[in-house]
């Protein structure tokens, strides 16, 4: 039997460059992003489906979709 390997993409945030504006939180359809103590955004990878809406929205363009 052949095993199909799924490539899953997840949003990945460069936390060092994040300004914690919250634009990504607003557009995430799954509520997978939260702002950690007003310092940076973090992704709940169990919830993220890799739709990429946050990456488009992020004003600093620091969210990338990365295969996990």
């Amino acid at each position: 039997m052949q095993e199909t390997k799924k490539i899953r993409k997840k949003a990945s945030i460069l936390q060092n460059e994040c300004v914690a504006c919250g634009c990504c939180v607003k557009v995430c359809p799954l509520g997978a992003i939260s702002i950690y103590k007003g310092v940076y955004a973090q992704v709940d990878e169990d919830k993220c489906v890799g739709c990429g809406k946050c990456a488009v929205e992020c004003p600093a363009s620091i969210i990338n979709l990365i295969s996990k």
């Binding site: 936390q15 300004v19 914690a20 504006c21 557009v27 702002i35 007003g38 310092v39 600093a60 363009s61």
Partner: protein, 200 residues
């Protein structure tokens, strides 16, 4: 998470009214102090950037104009513009200009300087604004502060508008002095500085 619209999702209306009112009666500029104190209070008391995240009418206005109205090119902003030195540098520059404005207000209060009925755009261009001034019951300094503060608000809106067109809708949020300041407060309170990883 995309949810039902909340009351605070309409705060862009307040921002619009604020900017328009400045063209009719400059004394309304005083109300803009809310945009300075509320974010600071939220960051100090609640240690969050709740203002940026939920209540910032300016951010919403840019998101609306750049997003739904399609006025933004939606390109990445240049690297230097989101760098720490530019963000902190802009914050310091903003502070210096703000204190200079307060100093001018003080001089008018003290009677050492006459009221100047101008709005200074981009810290350089003095635009006659006498048509929005109908006198004040108080000292001329009250009006001077209104002119100065409205200058700050209009200047930052223009800057944000230009970067909204050139880059992403809410590009302003990246270098917004209030945003940088509230994030610094949150960083200090979260203790990400004391552990030596202040850059986080």
């Amino acid at each position: 998470m995309k949810q039902k619209k909340q009351w605070y999702d309409y705060l862009w209306i307040w921002t619009t009214i604020y900017l328009v009112m400045g063209f009719f009666n400059i004394l309304f500029a005083w109300l803009g102090l809310a945009c300075f104190f509320i974010p600071l209070i939220i960051s100090v008391v609640k240690s969050t950037k709740g203002y940026c995240n939920n209540y910032c009418g300016r951010g919403q206005l840019f998101a609306l104009l750049g997003g739904r109205f399609g006025l933004s090119r939606k390109k990445d902003m240049p690297k230097w513009m989101k760098s720490k030195w530019f963000r902190y540098g802009f914050l310091i520059f903003f502070f210096i200009m703000f204190f200079q404005m307060l100093w001018n207000t003080y001089l008018v209060f003290a009677g050492a300087q006459d009221l100047k009925q101008v709005v200074t755009l981009l810290w350089t261009f003095k635009v006659p604004w006498h048509w929005a001034y109908h006198g004040t019951l108080f000292s001329d300094g009250v009006a001077q502060f209104a002119f100065g503060f409205y200058s700050v608000m209009l200047t930052s809106t223009i800057l944000g508008f230009v970067t909204m067109i050139l880059f992403k809708p809410r590009s302003w949020c990246v270098y917004c002095p209030m945003g940088t300041m509230t994030q610094l407060i949150c960083k200090a309170k979260a203790g990400t500085c004391s552990t030596g990883s202040c850059s986080r």
